[in-house]
Structures are given as structure tokens and as C-alpha cells.
Symmetry: C2
């Protein structure tokens, strides 16, 4: 049970967290804080937050839990604004898509109070943003990764985990470095590749003809290139080291495939394609059987 | 009106063509021919073909139109088997995903009868294959590209176009070379990239952890890596020249993006991402307004 939960950034992520905690009946007051008065007012109107204010001091005072749910590039500034008012019994967590840089920012901003910061990343999203996009079920059956720090107390980690579990999320634990390598591989790199392909096509002199013949395969492959450029610029920079590593591995793979294609080595090309198809089919089967189990468990 | 249409390969593509011509009431007899007796029997059972046979001679005799709807790598052998029986009043067309190599194969196989071959490519498909996957509506509202040869008569081209139009398709015309460059860019390259990414992830020592955290973005990006490895090996080899060109351009683009990331040039990275997002949004708008118009026209 939380008496007061304060949320920095009452958009899709923060707003859905608030709605889910309210439905679970585990929060006394949700306090919304942010830079946009419009978003705050809208969040209050929608019943996402009980109190909306631009005052960091008010937000931090007597809060049991603070969630920072703003773009990762703002994490350091927000935590620095929180620090002067932060009391020992308040836990701070975040929802950033990258973790190594967030931890670094938190260490700078919070200094001696770093033990109170438990980094997290809920793996959930929607195409829309802002308070109107917030939904109570966003986290149901989804993973939330907690990347605990050596300084964190077991009870603070458990309390953050419990909050996400009340939202319906399944808790996973990774180190910040593991987290960033994993998401560089399965999320950040695919985004970069999709952006690169559409940009490449769009800059060709006959781009209009190309787009005319692009069909459903192209549409699915490039869906993630419809995501916010600002957000993915920030993520790319925040996870630069891991992303460069994954990009290099992928480029080496393309160089190899190019060679096979140049020498018309059909057998080896088919082996790569078949390995990919098999791996993907196994992965999809695992997802589908997990979804099946979730459904059975939920009813 | 066609008295007799013969189809080499009564699977998804050939079978759907037959069903659509029958519904339109523009064909007297559909004659199915192929290597698999099981597929032929099934196609007969399903009412896709009126006659099923393994005899090429019977298939070609008195046919107005012959459609070769087999994997592109088999085109030359099939056309060579047709050639001895081919009469001057029969038109031959195909449904191959690549065109330069098909034209080359046709010139070898048909020699002096090349004028009778009008190459085509219906841009439609489904995940399933075989006669059971054939559906009457497969081509409705979809493009069929005709890549006419200098030797083709205008009336033969018009007759092939009319057959596809009877199936509901919209006719586009490109040269074989244009066709192959366009599809290398918007279809063949994305397939290669998706296969490469899944293979890359699957071969990492911690692949199981990676797949565990892969979410909907990864799922859509890699959907086309679930396609048939044999088919895409054939397409990659058949369109080797154009595909190498597109792959090189894409790799150059990745090298550039890598540099921007290494030097933390956020502004330039965002510009690439934003250009891609804008181009994709415009493309999607065009598709959606075309779909809207098709619907209005159809009702």
C-alpha cells in the first residue's frame, strides 16, 4: 500500500501506471507533476492523478514512491530537481528504455541518496502518447525489468516490484549492462535498421515509384520507423555503446551474406534463411504458448 | 473469353488465378498440369481445375493461354517442355517474382517463339501455399506488373492484361530491369535484412535471453523472415545483380549512420529518423486513401 505516489510525466507510461495502481486500490493519492500544464490538467480531468502541480517540492514531500516517466534525456535534470527535497523513506524509480545511462545520471544527480533509486523498465507501449493514451491494462501480462543497484536495499527493490505487479506486470531482473545489450539487440538495432531503410528508399531519385510497389512485407518491416524520431535519437545516444556493438555484428553478417550472394552460393544463403525461419518459428511458438497460459490463468 | 487456360503449378498463385477466371465466367476449361500428382488431384477436388494431367502435350494443345506459376528456378525447364508443342495462337505468361532472369530463361527455352511469351508478376500472396491456399479474391485490388518484351504484339499484351483484370487486378507496366530494381529495393532487400537479423540474434550465445525480451516491434520487423527459405534463396539468386546494388547502397547508409552514432551527432541522427518517419507516414496516407477510393468504387 502506498499513501502517496508521485509521477513525473503523466503521459502514456506514467498515466497507465497511475490508473493501474488506482484500480488495484493500493494507492492513497496520485500526485502528478510535469512541465506541461496542459498535460497535467488533462491528466486530472481524466482521473489519472488526484493532484496536479508543477511544484517538485510538493510532489516529493511525503511521497512513498516517485516514478520518473519522462524521456530518458531528461532523467538527470528531473532527479537533480528532486534530490534537495528527498527524504530517506521515499523510493524513486523510473521507466526509461535504457539503463546504464540512467544509472549514471542518477548517480550524478542523487549522490549519497543513490540507494533510494531503483531503476526499472516496463516493456509496454502503444503508438499514441500523452495522458489520453494512458490505459489501465497497459502492463497486464507484460514484463517489467528491474535493474537493481548494489546500493539498493532488498525491501526497496521488493516494494518497486510489488507496485508493478499490482499493475499486472511480470518482474524480470537484469543488470543495467545486460539490459542495455539485450534491448540494443532486439529493439534499438531493429529501429535503426528500419529508419535507415525508409530513409534510403526515400532519398532515391525514383522514390515515388518504389513506394508505389511497396507492399505488406515492407509495411510490417518498417512499422517501427513510424516511431518518434526524438525519442529514438535519445535512446540511440543513451545506449550508444551497446548499439554500436550490435550494429557492427549485424554489418559483419551483411558483409558475409553479400559474399555468398556474389558467389551465388545458394546452399549457404538458404542455410542462413532457414536458420532464421526456424528460430523465428520457435520464438513465435513460445510466445503463443505463454499467451495461452496467461489467458487460462487469468480466467 | 478463353476457351482453354492451362496452368503449370496449381498452388496459391495458379489456383487463385483459375478460381478468379472461373468466377468471372471468362474461361471454358481450366487445365492443370504439374509435377505433384497429389496437388493436381487436390486442385481437381477443389474445383480449381477441370482437367488435371501430367502431360505437357495435352496441356499445351489448343490452349489460348498458358500460365507458368511455379518457382522461378523452374521456369526455363517448364518453358522448354512447352516449346515443342506450342502453336502460334497460344499466349504464354508467368507469375514469377523476378523478371530479368525469367526473360533470359524464356529466350533460351522458347527461341523463335519468344514473341508469344508475355512476362508478368502479380503482387499478391498469403502465408500459406498449395491448392488449399488458393482463394478467388487473391488478386482483387492488387497490382499485376506486366514487363512486356519488344517482340510481344500489342494484342497479346492486352489479352494477358485482360485476364488479370478479370481477376480484379490493376495492371502496371515496367521493363523487366525496372521491375527487378524496384522489387530488389522494396521487397527482396527487406527479406534479406530480416533473415540476417534473426539469424544474427539466433547465433548469439545468449539467444534465449534475447528472444525472451523481443517484443512486437521485433515481431513485425522480422515477420518476412518466416517466409520460405527455398523460395527466397531462388529470388535472391534470380535477382542477384539488382539485390547486390540495393544491399551495397543500404550498407553504405549503415556505415554513415554508424559514424553519426560514434560521434554522437544527435542532430544528424534525428534528421535521418525524421526523414524516414515522414516518408513512411506519407506513404501510408497514400495507401489508405487508395484503399478508401477502391472501397467506394467497389460498392
Amino acid at each position: 500500500m502506498f499513501k502517496k505516489v508521485s509521477i513525473f510525466g503523466v503521459g502514456l507510461i506514467g498515466g497507465s501506471f497511475a490508473l493501474a495502481l488506482k484500480r488495484a486500490g493500493v494507492v492513497g493519492q496520485v500526485f502528478g507533476v510535469g512541465r506541461s500544464a496542459t498535460s497535467l490538467a488533462r491528466a486530472k480531468e481524466l482521473g489519472i492523478v488526484d493532484v496536479a502541480s508543477s511544484s517538485v517540492e510538493e510532489a516529493v514531500r511525503d511521497a512513498d514512491l516517485i516514478l520518473v516517466a519522462a524521456p530518458v534525456a531528461q532523467t538527470e535534470a528531473i532527479l537533480a530537481s528532486i534530490e534537495p527535497f528527498l527524504q530517506p523513506d521515499t523510493i524513486v524509480t523510473d521507466a526509461g528504455s535504457t539503463k546504464t545511462d540512467v544509472v549514471e545520471a542518477a548517480r550524478k544527480a542523487l549522490g549519497g541518496k543513490i540507494a533510494q533509486f531503483v531503476p526499472g523498465h516496463p516493456i509496454a507501449g502503444r503508438e499514441q502518447n500523452g495522458p489520453d493514451a494512458a490505459i489501465v491494462d497497459l502492463y497486464v501480462g507484460k514484463k517489467t525489468v528491474i535493474t537493481r543497484l548494489p546500493e539498493n536495499s532488498a525491501s526497496d527493490v521488493a516494494r518497486v516490484a510489488a507496485a508493478w505487479e499490482q499493475c499486472g506486470a511480470i518482474i524480470h531482473k537484469l543488470t543495467p549492462e545486460e539490459h542495455d545489450r539485450v534491448f540494443a539487440s532486439v529493439s534499438h538495432l531493429p529501429h535503426l535498421l528500419a529508419y535507415a531503410l525508409v530513409d534510403d528508399v526515400a532519398r532515391k531519385p525514383h522514390a515515388d515509384v518504389l513506394f508505389q510497389y511497396a507492399a505488406s512485407g515492407f509495411r510490417d518491416f518498417t512499422r517501427i520507423a513510424g516511431s518518434s524520431p526524438e525519442m529514438w535519437r535519445d535512446i540511440s545516444l543513451a545506449n550508444q555503446a551497446a548499439l554500436l556493438g550490435e550494429l557492427d555484428a549485424y554489418m559483419a553478417q551483411l558483409v558475409q551474406l553479400r559474399e555468398l550472394l556474389a558467389e551465388r552460393n545458394g546452399k549457404a544463403i538458404e542455410a542462413v534463411y532457414a536458420n532464421a525461419q526456424r528460430a523465428r518459428q520457435n520464438w513465435i511458438k513460445t510466445i503463443e504458448s505463454a499467451e495461452q497460459q496467461n489467458k487460462q490463468g487469468g480466467d
